[in-house]
Symmetry: C2
Subunit: 169 residues, 2 copies
DNA sequence: CTGCTATACTTGCGTGCGCAACCATAGCTT
DNA sequence: AAGCTATGGTTGCGCACGCAAGTATAGCAG
């Protein structure tokens, strides 16, 4: 229970300042960023961040359509969660469900014109938000360093779906 | 709509690979880490991560008690959210509400013996989880670099509450 | 063709959360 | 002291989510 404020390396049952800064900083940064970005989109385009992510992935997908499961994986959502999200978005006309010709069990979600328009409108907001609140506050070197960290932290099989390499939020 | 995969710096309406890696990597890392850590605690100690955080902050607070608002800020939860969380934890005997003598509006949440015991038991699980899945995969330099990034990203007033400097998850 | 298991999605249900409205008390103003 | 505003906390409400069970189809074994 003794307070050991400036331990350089790791004791057994507590974290060093360095570890603490790295770890809790991420928690706070993530919370603060996603909240702010969601608020931005909601305020300017009446669009939740989750819907934006769906639009984005669809727009980048081949033929602007994706299987429900792939979409769920891409935006890190359970399948049931995605079903509901797609329900809502379909109701708003941002996308349409389409049955899969080669597999009657499967469905596609396809971007509608209205969905594409919404994405085009919202993209600037989101992008400038990400820049202002995050990227612009880091040097390119720091951005690279972060990228390296995530590669190490993320489970290997945890890929970001097909369009991972060229997906720009 | 042209694909410009390896832009070194920022075009106007998309992110460079570097930016993308830094940004989406954080989203994935956060999702993956919190999910895994929560599952660990839940499996081994039947304790949600949110409750663990409350116990942790209480244990570090002066007198093992904190005002509800401060607690809410510390664990990044709305006040109503905290009210409910404390309700649950009180029901389980992990903490107790206490009225504040100097301000009749306020309440304290105080750690109970049972809560302290729970924390002691769970601490190892959580700590080793954070290390295994996150900290141990980074070099000390990278940890420092991350810490620097978060300082820059986090809004200035966004402090982590009183016990910030010596809080070890 | 008849099962039998695996896969793709959806639905029922419970949970945890935030927002906004709501007390109760504090603390200033006159 | 009476009134006014600010603050700390709780409650009503609705929402988005995950889990587990359900439905439909695929694809293989016999």
């Amino acid at each position: 229970m003794a307070t050991a404020p400036s331990r350089p390396s790791a004791p057994a049952d507590s974290l060093s300042d360095r570890e603490l800064r790295a770890w809790r900083g991420m928690l706070r940064a993530h919370a603060s960023l996603t909240k702010a970005l969601d608020a931005d989109l909601e305020a300017e385009h009446d669009l939740p961040l989750s819907s934006y992510e769906v639009l984005l992935h669809l727009a980048h997908a081949d033929g602007e359509h994706m299987r429900m499961s792939d979409l769920a994986d891409s935006i890190i959502l359970s399948r049931s969660g995605l079903t509901r999200l797609v329900d809502r978005m379909e109701r708003e006309g941002l996308l349409a469900r389409e049955s899969c010709p080669s597999d009657a069990r499967g469905s596609f979600a396809r971007l509608t014109d209205s969905g594409r328009a919404k994405l085009d409108a919202a993209r600037r907001t989101h992008l400038s938000g990400v820049r202002e609140r995050f990227l612009d506050r880091l040097t390119p070197d720091e951005q690279d360093a972060l990228g390296d960290c995530w590669d190490r932290v993320l489970p290997a099989g945890h890929d970001a779906g097909p369009a991972c390499g060229s997906l720009d939020p």
